[in-house]
Amino acid sequence: MRILPDHTGEHVILQMEDAEQSIIAALLSDVSQLLSADLPEPDADPFERLVGHLDPDQEVTRPGDPALLRLLPDVDSTDPDRSAEFRRLTERDLRESKLHSIRIALHSLGQHPGPVALDADAARAWMRALTDVRLVLASRLDITQDEDVERLMDEATDVGETGEAVLSLYELTTWLHEHITQFMLEGLPSHPDDGIDEDLTDLFDDDWLDDEPDDDEPGDDEPDDDQRDGPPDDVPPDDVPPDDAQPDDEEEDR
């Protein structure tokens, strides 16, 4: 998989193998199913839905699945009553907004084989949808602390075959998310105050900051330095075919 901006800079292009597209689509569909469980039919009478929305007796149960709870968190974990009330009023909208992002992402994948071009709106939907995918995968992997990912990577043999497969999906979606985000960050309009007080960030070790793309590397004379090669690596052959098409892609670009 590779990600690169198009020549206008207005789209981000995802070059994915068919198998990678299928995997991402399957992950998105899984989260979609998780989020649509117990939702009323989309074509239910709008009036009924509105009434249901306002009906104080209609219970909205707090998710028992930790992954779903992470997608639909409490508004105040120290106040169960207020959280239940907030959930009753807002959870359905939140689910539907998440499902909407997933639908946009699936739609862009389903268009036709070949590179997937995302405009800014589609890229926004992808960022949200991939976040939810990653939150669910992380929950399944029992990632609860910042150190857990590193630990899982170090002891990959201990997580079992399934764990390794899930971990590789987590890494794949993380990589994809990171690069779409980078593209979108570069496209954000600058704030009038940008450039002022920037030294605030110098207080922190640069390691805390994101991995900025090394576009500014003076020594980097690659013409396509915006183009990022995708996770080389740890996706087991069972899930993603080996990256043997990479050299071909390089040639096509010339």
Binding site: L71, L94, S97, R128, T131, Q182, D193, D210
Partner: protein
Amino acid sequence: MADQEGATAVAEPDALSAPAPARDLPWTTLVLNDPVNLMSYVEFVFREYFGYPRAKARKLMLEVHERGRSRVSTGTREQMETDVQAMHSYGLWAECRPADDGGGQT
């Protein structure tokens, strides 16, 4: 970093330019750290949704990352609940708390 903030804290108060006291804005949106959301994405959300300048967005993002939480907005309960729901739709872990709850830093 702590030294720098201490220095800020003892700076002379300026009644005209100081932000409104917390008691006038009784609710706050807390964003909590999680091991999943990328720092670049959290910065993106703070810039896109709140319209914060880059430096402020990064500062809040680093606060979330290093201290586990950050107050990212303050206002009426209704406004803060709107912000929390927006954060949830981005996939960030956020809660709405009374501002005097001690749930974050100033």
